[in-house]
């Protein structure tokens, strides 16, 4: 990151003047934390005792045999507390909030995982917590809303715009400019104004650090390829950082192909042709927008990938050809999810299943002595309503009908 918050041509901090001073303070606190080895030690200890770090690197033996190519390893961020990589970022920012002396946190959430993680952190550290969530996502991820509320957070459904993640971000910014003195905005992904992209990536780098060590222990050398799904890009940044600059490791980001790259109903910023450079939500990146700069509606079966922008750090790496981008359609995602559950007894989140799709396409082309890692950013049981609906599962439908009747009395 340069002094203005840019990574190559991307990033920066395009914020209202009201937030200028609070960003100055945040930049100082973040810089101090990065310089202080004790801060990272405290973070590691917290993640080891409160969450489940280091998360395992699982050898997917059955999938490996099934595809007959490279050994498939899965980095299990689903086993983190609250079921996704989101906790890494949130607990790190929580420690920073304690340092800054603020008493209230706010967050945006798409799939709800970041909201749940933030509500958890707020409960543990004794902060007041408000979570903004698009109305569409509230519908898609109702169980997460339940847990956030149970942990004491206030969840506010956002009814403006496309009623998804980007609108939740706008609303969180509106809260922040109003309550800037008491409140820290726990940004959920490696996007937004500097220093968020770099800071969130730093907390997520714990994934890559562990995976690097683990693959050497198990496989004895570097993997050929690493796959991660990319919504905002924080889980991808997390694992990629452990392998960047290693010549023989190819990094692959998988975006939401929705109903297909040519359908206009997807959220692929870098592997399609629909995104162009723009500035919104406080930073410069490739946005899915029209010629006049108005953001477009996006679509993905997974709420967490359904976003118009992408991490400026990933765009920079993409321009430098250090990360390749691919996409997976909703239909491919359901297939990969089904296969993974049946063969390994592991339930990836719909978001994570995008990475599995691309890995499954490429694994058979690699030699049996090679290894690949899939970053399983989260667990899929949160998606039970969406997944059961997509599988059109008859017994589940009957259960919902019966339960609804019970409540109707």
């Amino acid at each position: 990151m340069d002094t203005k918050g840019y990574f190559g041509n991307w990033g920066g901090a395009f914020i209202p003047e009201i937030l200028h001073e609070t960003f100055e303070q945040l930049k100082i606190s973040y810089a101090e934390a990065r310089k202080d080895p004790a801060f990272w030690q405290e973070y590691l200890q917290l993640m080891g005792s409160y969450s489940c770090r280091p998360t395992p690197l699982t050898y997917a033996e059955n999938l490996t045999k099934h595809f007959g190519g490279a050994k498939i390893f899965i980095k299990r961020e689903d086993l983190n507390h609250t079921g996704a990589h989101k906790a890494n970022n949130v607990m790190g920012q929580g420690l920073l909030v304690k340092k800054m002396g603020k008493k209230r946190v706010i967050a945006e959430t798409g799939a709800g995982q970041h909201g749940v993680a933030t509500a958890t952190m707020a409960a543990k550290f004794g902060f007041e917590c408000t979570v903004y969530m698009g109305e569409v996502d509230v519908q898609r991820q109702r169980p997460n809303v339940f847990w956030m509320e149970k942990m004491g957070a206030t969840v506010i459904p956002v009814k403006d715009g496309s009623r998804t993640l980007k609108d939740a971000i706008n609303e969180a910014f509106r809260d922040w400019v109003t309550n800037v003195d008491s409140t820290h905005y726990v940004f959920g992904t490696a996007c937004g104004p500097a220093p968020f992209p770099e800071m969130v990536s730093w907390f997520q780098s714990i994934i890559g650090q562990e995976a690097h060590k683990q693959i050497l222990e198990i496989h004895g050398r570097m993997p050929a390829k690493i796959y991660a799904c990319v919504g905002g890009g924080s889980n991808a940044m997390g694992i990629f950082q452990g392998f960047l600059g290693k010549d023989n490791v190819e990094l692959i980001g998988v975006e939401a192909g929705g109903k297909g790259l040519h359908s206009g109903q997807h959220a692929s910023r870098l592997c399609g042709n629909d995104a162009t450079p723009g500035i919104a939500q406080g930073y410069k990146t490739m946005f899915l927008q029209n010629d006049e700069g108005q953001m477009l509606e996006t679509h993905s079966v997974s709420a967490g990938l359904d976003y118009v922008g992408v991490s400026p750090i990933l765009v920079d790496l993409w321009e430098q050809k250090k990360v390749r981008f691919e996409s997976a359609t909703d239909a491919e995602v359901m297939e990969a999810l089904d296969l993974t559950m049946k063969m390994e007894g592991i339930i990836p989140a719909l978001e994570s299943a995008h990475a599995f799709v691309q890995a499954f396409k490429e694994a058979p082309k690699l030699g049996k002595d090679e290894a690949i890692i899939i970053n399983q950013s989260g667990r899929g049981d949160k998606d039970i309503f969406t997944i059961a609906h997509a599988f059109d599962d008859p017994s589940w439908k009957q259960f919902i009908i019966d339960r609804a009747k019970e409540y109707d009395k």
Binding site: K4, G12, A13, F14, I15, P16, E17, I18, L19, H20, E21, T22, D160, G161, K166, N170, F173, R174, V177, T178, N179, V180, D181, T276, P277, G278, I279, A280, Q281, G282, Q289, D291, E292, G293, Q294, M295
Partner: protein, 254 residues
Amino acid sequence: MLLENTIRNKRQEKDILLMTHIVLGYPSFATNRKVVAQMVENGVDCIEMQIPFSEPMADGPVILKANQESLAQGTSVKECMAFGAEMAAEYDIPFLFMTYYNIVYKYGEERFFKDCQKANIQGLIIPDLSPEMGENFFKLATTYQIAPILIYAPTSTNKRMASLNRSANGFIYCAARRGVTGTKSSFDEDFDTYLARCKAATTLPLAVGFGIQDRADVASLTGKVDMAVIGSQTIRLVDEKGPEAVGPFIAGLR
């Protein structure tokens, strides 16, 4: 210099000036026309015209909704530019554009300034663009003699205000409080301390906006600043009572 001089000259004649805000294409350009006519006839001194954006981060619910509805009807930047030119040709007060940086960026910065100059637009308010992020923008503002209006906030330090002042022109827009547009502000002692800091940091005229809703609010600013900004309130009024209600409302403010 043009806008600053116009404001200073008008200020010789009035104790406080009024700037109003419209969202272009909301509820329609036809209504915008009627509203601007009523505003000018009743003595408004300056009008900021907002080019709608899908992500208006700094705006509250009233202006947010107006942005969305205008876009839903298909309002384009080209139409906004043409409307601005029409108003500036018809009325003898300064017209400004307010929008977010992505609109300018996608239009092409230099092309935007050229077209604003042709349209006789005298200033631009871009709340998400600071001088450090918009070097080229601020250079073009000087080249094309269109004032880049900068915002001071109660959270701005004295040092920050002084630094912003070096890139500002026309006037300084002081946000009366933290938060987004459209909620009531209180003009208490803290506010006076803040205003004193603003005055110490710049020699440009001062406008105060955010939550100014009635005659009492304007009266409490008279003698303290050069211009009061009425934003969401006239949009609310048009929503509730139609464009005809704007004239009497403006006339009753001073």
